[in-house]
Amino acid sequence: MSDTTENVGATEPRSKIKRVSWQKPAIFCLCLVPLAWLIVWAVAGDLGANPIEAITRYLGDWALRFILIALAVTPIRVLTGWTAVGRFRRMLGLFAFFYLLLHLSSYVGLDQFFYWSGIWQDIVKRIYITLGVAAAVLLALLAATSTDKMVNRLGGKRWRELHRLVYLAAVLGVIHFFMMLKADYTEPTIYAVVLAGLFGVRVYKKWV
């Protein structure tokens, strides 16, 4: 992908845009809706016979969805010419990390209840958990370097190279989903196809 398309939001610190807009707060609130649903269901006791499993799965679903949503920003800009969408990319990426962190917390704090020896066994012995944790570490790294200050400190080029790790995190997330299932891979296949499409647009853009 060319620098000009990937640059938006990265080289221009947000403080310079200074556009007072309702859009960002609106999207921020929209991103919290999945969490709000979860809370409503939990309070209403609608999470079924195994609420911990339901919570963990739900948060994992949304972590993966938000990674894909954040990765859709560039293709949307390329395909529709709506360049302003780039302003939401950082926030969407941070929400992906937010849901992934909740997903991981649910596994550690609810599912395993801080049973560290068991958690460690899981990470080293079970590849799908290894991959999931790796994706979480990657997103943590990207979240930590998501500020304007870090963009400036690293320099635009290096920052962009670093943040390409999100592609790896997305692939790990989809593989993690595939590997945890026993049968019927329809759902992760949908995520894989969407991810491939999002990659495809980037590759296409680069070659055309």
Partner: protein, 325 residues
């Protein structure tokens, strides 16, 4: 350094919380009135069921005698609502909530079971005739899923050993093979072969089938099996992972060849023929050392043979359970 050793008599914290939760849930279920209806109608004809009240969802079973009875305080019954809404029954879809949602159109009446293979009395019988010579017994068993969750269910069923004796397997029969019905028009999951190769197949060694713990269940909580739990008749071998407990059985075959059970065909490195509950042998993708009892917050230690070592341990004496999983 002070090390606290938990003595056997000290209840673990995991054993305290769930009881309250369980009692509260019971109250909740009772207050929904789900139960009250049937009692008021007097449907209950004095069955000896662990269920204080019948759920009143399906027809009640009569003339139940007590079989293997109550488990200890650590193992309260899992509420009816959970037992009947959280199921692995891929014929109706792969999510736990799919069976209860999709099993409505399934009609298990009338039902026929074919018994064939190496036996003296093969034949095809209607369910009533199949059940007639046997006593209905209530058996309260732990149910441990290979996915590391568990329940306690008051099944109603007949002794599998009695059934085997009745059909008289001949000397060369070594195994019993079971098959689930194939009825894609009523079972949405069976419309896709991407889920599992149908029919679902399971098997037991003949001596396993003769163990007094093994039953063919036709009910739970004093009533006929709900569709999502494997109506009208299913296997229950409580020392084995739940996937051995094949549902909606239409065929029983005595054979000298070890049956290839469906999950073993799907992923032989993950699911063996024996599938005995064993906390020391992990599933490749998760530990089997601990399990979540439905309704509990904390996981609990999984017991060897699901706590039935005394009854079934002898069957596997001398076997390498790490290889024969």
């Amino acid at each position: 350094m002070l090390i606290r050793m938990a003595s056997k008599s000290t209840p673990k914290s995991s054993e305290i919380t769930p009881k309250d939760a369980y009692l509260n849930r019971r109250k909740f279920i009772a207050s929904t009135g789900l139960i009250a209806g049937s009692a008021a109608l007097g449907i209950r004809s004095g069955p000896v069921s662990a269920a204080e009240e019948l759920p009143g969802v399906n027809p009640a079973l009569s003339s139940i005698i007590n079989g293997y009875s109550k488990l200890g305080d650590d193992d309260p019954l899992t509420p009816y609502a959970d037992v009947t809404s959280y199921n692995n029954f891929y014929e109706f879809g792969t999510a736990k909530g799919d069976p209860v949602e999709n099993a409505g159109p399934f009609n298990p009446k009338p039902w026929e079971i074919t018994v064939d293979g190496m036996c003296v009395n093969p034949g095809t019988l209607g369910l009533e005739d199949f059940l007639k010579p046997h006593d209905l017994e209530e058996r309260i068993y732990r149910l441990r899923c290979v996915e590391a969750w568990s329940m306690v269910v008051p099944w109603v069923g007949i002794s599998l050993a009695d059934v085997v004796k009745r059909f008289e397997p001949n000397g060369s029969a070594k195994y019993v093979k079971f098959e689930t019905i194939v009825r894609p028009e009523e079972m949405v999951g069976q419309r896709s072969r991407r889920i599992l190769p149908w029919p679902y197949v399971e098997g037991l060694r003949l001596d396993e089938a003769m163990n007094p713990l093994a039953i063919l269940a036709v009910g739970l909580y004093g009533e006929e099996l709900p569709n999502q739990n494997g109506a009208p008749i299913r296997l229950m071998t409580p020392w084995k992972y739940g996937f051995k407990a094949i549902k909606s059985i239409v065929k029983i075959t005595f054979t000298n060849k070890k049956p290839r059970n469906t999950w073993n065909v799907m992923a032989a490195n993950e699911y063996g023929f024996y599938a005995n509950v064993n906390p020391n042998v992990d599933h490749p993708r998760w530990s089997q050392a601990r399990e979540r009892r439905i309704g509990d917050f904390l996981r609990r230690e999984t017991l060897m043979f699901n706590g039935y070592e005394e009854e079934v341990g002898e069957l596997y004496a001398g076997m390498n359970l790490r290889k024969e999983y």
